[in-house]
């Protein structure tokens, strides 16, 4: 299977430092992401991987550093803008909307694209109805893509973990993102589920050309599917390069031997 061609740098993170009341979560992290590539950020638990993502999509505001996306540079990101610029993400410890079913969860990812005003919605005639239907179809394509048809109307809270992860991915895909940030998409899954998830990630990257930044704490899976890897440890960057380069990196090895997983 031929993989898509990797393009220019689209997302550039420079010297990011973040701390919570004295506790340093990230120290002077820099790395970049190229168009269409699968970029992994790995590191032991608590290495600051999630914090990194949270800085990128504006959940946290770093004390120092800047983030450049498609030529625009920000010293801090605003979640809304980030979403509008086409950066979507999934969450490590499922952040689904528990009270809604699968369709609505994924539908909520279409929110930015829905334009009818509150009065049209209240009357639900014409535009509003048409809009709902149009987006429903998009959502159904995602459901089909993720093979969760059997659960489309199940409240997500009732789904097994592996499926919830898929819905989470679905919600992100619904935003038709250019960059997809995946926070430990395979954490806590059994082998089949992991294989499925890998397949989905590759297919997304392959079919929609979506650039993917994914976080994992265990190297195994990630190394096979990612083009380049950043390694964090205790909030510091200790390695960056192709999977092979990283594998042979002394610091990385020691960091990993140091942690059990």
């Amino acid at each position: 299977m031929s993989r898509r061609s990797i393009g220019e740098v689209m997302l550039d993170v420079k010297n990011i430092s973040l701390s919570f009341g004295g506790v340093k979560a990230l120290t002077d992290i820099s790395f970049n992401v190229r168009e269409h590539e699968i970029r992994a950020i790995i590191g032991p638990n608590g290495a600051g991987k999630s914090s990194m993502l949270n800085c990128i999509n504006g959940v946290y505001t770093p004390q120092q550093g800047s983030i450049t996306f498609r030529g625009k540079t920000f010293d801090h990101m605003n979640s809304r803008e980030v979403a509008e610029m086409g950066i979507a993400r999934t969450f490590q410890n499922l952040a689904l909307f528990k009270g809604m079913n699968v369709i609505d969860n994924i539908m909520s990812g279409r929110n930015l694209k829905m334009k009818t005003n509150i009065f049209q919605q209240a009357l639900r005639i014409g535009a509003a109805e048409r809009e709902e239907q149009a987006h429903r179809e998009v959502v159904e394509r995602i459901i089909d893509f993720l093979e969760i048809q059997a659960w489309r109307k199940t409240p997500v809270a009732r789904l097994p973990y592996g499926l919830q992860k898929r819905v989470d991915l679905g919600r992100a895909l619904a935003m038709e993102p250019q960059v997809l940030l995946l926070d430990e998409p395979m954490a806590g899954m059994n082998i089949e589920e992991k294989q499925d998830m890998c397949r989905f990630v590759l297919d997304v990257n392959d079919q929609f050309g979506t650039t993917i930044v994914l976080i994992e704490h265990d190297m195994g899976v990630v190394m096979d599917i990612s083009d380049r890897v950043v390694v964090l440890d205790y909030g510091k960057k200790i390695g960056d390069g192709t999977p092979d380069e990283v594998r042979s990196n002394e610091e990385v090895i020691s960091a990993y031997l140091g942690t059990s997983h």
Partner: protein, 309 residues
């Protein structure tokens, strides 16, 4: 200058009482995560009990010695409050462990209705007096500083002193006693506390009893001031802004908050009230608290909230 100081002191003194009631909230919230709306009802209930026992005892036992009577009445009332605490734990909270905040809040609302109804059926619903012999006649301070000096209501003063003492006591209890430590452990993490063998049920009963005790004292003080009547339960509503101002989980917060609200309220009533047609202290406290929260959402001493995802 004189009038200002007067108001200030007045404010501080009522503030002390707010702190007392607020403390009731904080204790329970810390220990069981319950936002106890029933606190006000408890005050009324306790006061009613106290007042009525103080009437019944002489009638039944023919004891006339006032101090003795009040003492017995106090003990009985306290007993009632402990019973109440046990009932609440046994039949309400015990069933609602790990429920959402709102549900618990609603539960305490239920308790409120129950206690209002029950209390008034058992103890009657007229206006009763409590007389624990707090000095009534006003006194003047610093007469040599300004002419006329500062009028201080002795009753309020003594009340404030009692409240202060009690607050200090509780704070100490919370900090230094084993039970206090257990309480804080529970407050931090139910499961963990349970796993290291702290008996939740007992802790909760204790907390509610303490809250009951606080309510009783508050009830006596307010009661002997305003007379024991339904409006007493509104006291709690005045303590609410104190709690959120101070931070739901902070004992010092409750104290400082109480003082701030007390003073703010009095000052506003005196200096702003007239412009707005008076009676503004019922909402001014809230407005104050609200404004404050906008600056510090977690209250004065509450822990900072960090969203982890």
């Amino acid at each position: 200058m004189g009038p200002f100081l007067e108001t200030l002191i007045g404010g501080l003194m009522t503030g002390m009482l707010y702190s007392l009631v607020a403390l009731g909230f904080v204790l329970i919230f810390k220990a069981s995560g319950v936002f106890n709306f029933a606190q006000g009802a408890m005050v009324l209930f306790a006061a009613l009990a106290m007042a009525r026992f103080a009437e019944w005892i002489p009638a039944l036992l023919g004891i006339e010695h006032k101090v003795l009577v009040n003492l017995m009445a106090f003990i009985l009332a306290m007993g009632v409050m402990i019973m109440l605490a046990w009932v609440v734990e046994r039949f309400v909270l015990g069933k609602l462990v790990n429920q959402e905040g709102v549900t618990l809040l609603m539960a305490t609302l239920g308790i409120t209705y129950f206690m209002d109804g029950f209390g008034q059926t058992v103890f009657g619903s007229d206006i009763y007096k409590i007389d624990v012999g707090l000095p009534k006649e006003p006194m003047f301070l610093l007469e040599d500083v300004f002419q006329g000096g500062i009028l201080v209501n002795q009753e309020e003063l003594s009340a404030a002193i009692i409240a202060a003492a009690l607050v200090a006591l509780l704070a100490a209890f919370f900090q230094y006693t084993g039970t206090g430590r257990a309480l804080r452990a529970v407050a931090d993490d139910h499961q963990a506390a349970q796993s290291i063998g702290i008996p939740l049920e007992r802790i909760w009963v204790i907390v509610w009893s303490v809250a009951g005790f606080v309510a009783l004292v508050a009830g006596i003080i307010w009661g002997s001031k305003l007379g024991v009547q339904f409006s007493l339960s509104q006291v709690a509503l005045k303590a609410l802004p104190v709690v959120i101002l101070g931070g739901l989980t902070s004992v010092p917060g409750a104290i400082v908050g109480g003082l701030i609200i007390g003073v703010g309220e009095k000052l506003s009533e005196v200096y702003i009230g007239p412009m707005l047609g008076g009676g503004i202290e019922i909402w001014f406290a809230y407005a104050l608290a609200l404004l404050f929260l906008l600056v510090r959402p977690q209250g004065l001493y509450g822990e900072k909230i960090i969203d982890r995802v």
